[in-house]
């Protein structure tokens, strides 16, 4: 282990590996900020550049792009998540920006993310010997329970009303039914359109619901994000100290992120949302969320980057990609003649260390940039909205096109932009649509496979310890908010622990 670590340090912190890592980080940072672009896309684009490079140069370049992808800045400043996993950050991050606390929010998000990434890598190293059996214990019943738990928790803490949350979730689940049936491979609900064969695309939906809806709001409001009588306050130290003071929220978020990241196919959006849910449910009584609570920024951002370290667990140990990013990473590794699995972690430990150190370096570079540029980026919140709106709208529309180079994606994004604006107007939590779009295919496939395994018996979801544990956690998620609401109604002061619309 020690020899591998020393070799890894030597390989990464040498010329030109370090230059490649920094270049990849810069590319990943830009991609993360732009709506519609993600770190995994940056990785895919950079793979051709690695042809002819040794693995110790290719890996830092690719990991740099993946790890530095940072979408929290636009989520906080403009209510436009750079990636789907930053959507939960908008709940409290954007209200903080509206209150003139953008600098504090940005630095807290950046520091929480950076420490979350370190946590994920540390967990990977510590648990390396025992992780194989844990990851392999997750089967279709557990995946189904996890998907349902994500949706149930969303409904349970939806602001406004439980019914509105359920409407959004069912709408998202219905939208997820369009396209290819994951079980039979047949086409359903396409209305004769080739465009819907692959289902409702996630990224244009995200761009429309959040980015373009926000653009419409800015154009109708014609003021600025922060009202002129609100001072811009809070800087790097304020945000860092907020994370230190709320270390338990950070730790919870990072733990959830690492655990969820280790489960193949679940994704960062689930991790960040479950982490936010955990902060809402188990925070101190009387605390409100959705109005600029710093914990609502710390929790999801900790899990966002912790999940990268977790995702490396099944990817490097078992060769199972846990996310798009790790799938592209494994493709690149195999292209360079490196097969993930037992051999990689025993015979090429130096390369494993290069991967881990490059991930840490990318996070440090990206988050440091956001932390120290935060007070300058915060100026965006006092820019007149009539100036900001065309810029955001343009970037979103072009970003929607760039994903699949299909004009229909742009039209779809505009449609979702109008829908998102209307949903915001009537207080419907549009995050439900996004989460349901992500989780429904997983739930459907897992349900079908589980029932085939059990020959139609639903007991399979309750006679396996991991699945039963998640069912009980789901019950807890449902019961705790009801108890809190009942107690809150018996006291003056309104509701606590709700997710914004």
């Amino acid at each position: 282990m020690l020899e591998g670590m020393i070799a890894g340090f030597g390989a990464l912190f040498s010329w030109p590996a370090l230059a490649y890592a920094l270049f990849g980080s810069a590319v990943g940072l830009i991609f993360g900020i732009l709506p519609g672009l993600q770190g995994s896309l940056a990785m895919a684009m950079l793979i051709p550049m690695t042809f002819g490079m040794p693995p110790t140069h290719a890996v830092p370049l690719l990991i740099g792009a993946w790890g530095a992808s940072e979408g929290s800045a636009t989520a906080i400043l403009l209510n436009v998540p750079g990636e789907s996993e930053n959507a939960a950050t908008t709940f409290d991050g954007y209200p903080m920006a509206q209150q003139g606390r953008a600098g504090e929010a940005l630095s807290a998000a950046a520091f929480s993310s950076m420490m979350g990434a370190l946590f994920g890598v540390a967990v990977f190293l510590v648990l390396l010997p025992v992780l194989r059996s844990v990851v392999l214990s997750f089967g279709p019943p557990e995946f189904f329970m996890l998907a349902i738990a994500g949706l149930v928790s969303l409904a349970a803490i939806s602001r406004g009303s439980l019914l509105k949350g359920l409407v959004m979730i069912t709408l998202g689940m219905a939208m997820a039914l369009h396209g290819t049936n994951p079980i039979t491979g047949g086409i359903r609900y396409t209305f004769g359109s080739l465009y819907l064969w692959e289902g409702v695309p996630l990224l244009p939906t995200l761009i429309g619901l959040f980015g373009l809806a926000e653009t419409i709001k800015l154009m109708t409001r014609n003021t600025q994000i922060v009202q002129s009588n609100v001072l811009i306050k809070g800087g790097v130290l304020t945000g860092i100290m907020a994370v230190v003071r709320n270390w338990h929220v950070w730790l919870s978020g990072a733990s959830i992120g690492t655990f969820i990241g280790a489960i193949p196919g679940v994704g960062g959006s689930v991790a960040s949302y479950l982490s936010y849910t955990s902060a809402v449910l188990f925070t101190g009584k009387g605390e409100k969320f959705g109005n600029g609570n710093i914990k609502g920024v710390i929790a999801p951002e900790a899990s966002n980057n912790a999940k990268d370290g977790g995702a490396l667990i099944p990817a490097l140990i078992l060769g199972i990609p846990g996310s798009t990013g790790t799938a592209i990473l494994l493709t690149a590794l195999m292209f360079h003649g490196i097969v993930p699995g037992r051999k990689l972690v025993t015979e090429r430990l130096d390369l494993v260390w290069v991967i881990l150190l490059a991930l840490v370096l990318a996070n440090v570079v990206a988050q440091s940039f956001v932390m120290f540029a935060g007070r300058y980026l915060a100026r965006l919140t006092v820019t007149p909205s009539a100036v900001l709106a065309p810029i955001i709208g343009t970037t979103c529309l072009v970003g929607a096109f760039v994903i699949r180079r299909d004009m229909n994606d742009v039209i779809l994004a505009v449609g979702f932009g109008v829908l998102g604006y209307v949903l915001d107007k009537y207080g419907y939590p549009k995050i439900g649509i996004l989460m349901a779009l992500i989780l429904t295919p997983l739930a459907e496939q897992s349900l079908h496979t589980s029932l085939q395994m059990s020959e139609g018996s639903y007991a399979i979801f309750f006679n396996r310890p991991p699945s039963l544990t998640m069912a009980l956690l789901m019950l807890l998620v449902l019961v705790v908010p009801v108890l809190r609401q009942t107690r809150a109604r018996t006291r003056p002061g309104g509701q606590a622990g709700k997710v914004p619309a």
Partner: protein, 167 residues
């Protein structure tokens, strides 16, 4: 607490009716497959119809009682409008904003992305704000440059050339 006007309640009811129509169409179009395969779609659509009907009842009930607590929307409120000195009715501004977005897409299709990206922000800023021509031109030029450098030059994405310039 703020009162929500009659207009708001009818609008929300209309939204719920649109969702109900969508779910109903999907329910009718569910392909005839084996029970196991159509299990989850049936559960989803049945649940969706039930939930939306309950929500519609809730909306109607709230309207009759006329004491709905307003959610804290990011959109404009009456007090926001007063602070901003905005006098144009909200519905007109919403229509104009959505209209501009649709126009943007039409101009991308007809004139191409690079022309639309320069032209539409310029016209939108002129329409929606009173900032000076200098700022408008600088922002429009900056946006065009950003899109060109980030998407065309760095990433190499061929943006749509537009029907007028497509050969």
């Amino acid at each position: 607490m703020r009162l929500i006007t009659r207009t708001f309640a009818w609008g929300e009811l209309g939204l719920c009716l649109a969702f109900l129509a969508y779910f109903a169409v999907l329910a009718v179009l569910t392909p005839p497959l084996d029970p196991l395969t159509r299990l989850l779609p049936q559960i989803i659509l049945t649940g969706a119809v039930a939930v939306i009907l309950l929500q519609m009842l809730s909306v109607v009930n709230q309207r009759f009682h006329n004491t709905v607590a307003a959610t804290e929307l990011a959109g404009p409120s009456q007090s926001d409008e007063a602070d901003a000195g905005v006098t144009t009715p909200l519905l007109h501004r919403e229509t104009a904003a959505i209209g501009w977005m649709v126009l943007y897409v039409v101009m991308i299709i007809v004139l191409g992305s690079l022309v639309a990206v320069a032209l539409v922000p310029l016209l939108a800023m002129r329409t929606f704000s009173r900032v000076s021509w200098g700022i408008i031109l600088a922002v429009a030029a900056g946006t065009w440059l950003f899109v060109y450098v980030a998407f065309v030059w760095l990433i190499g994405v061929p943006l749509p050339p537009g029907l007028l310039f497509d050969r």
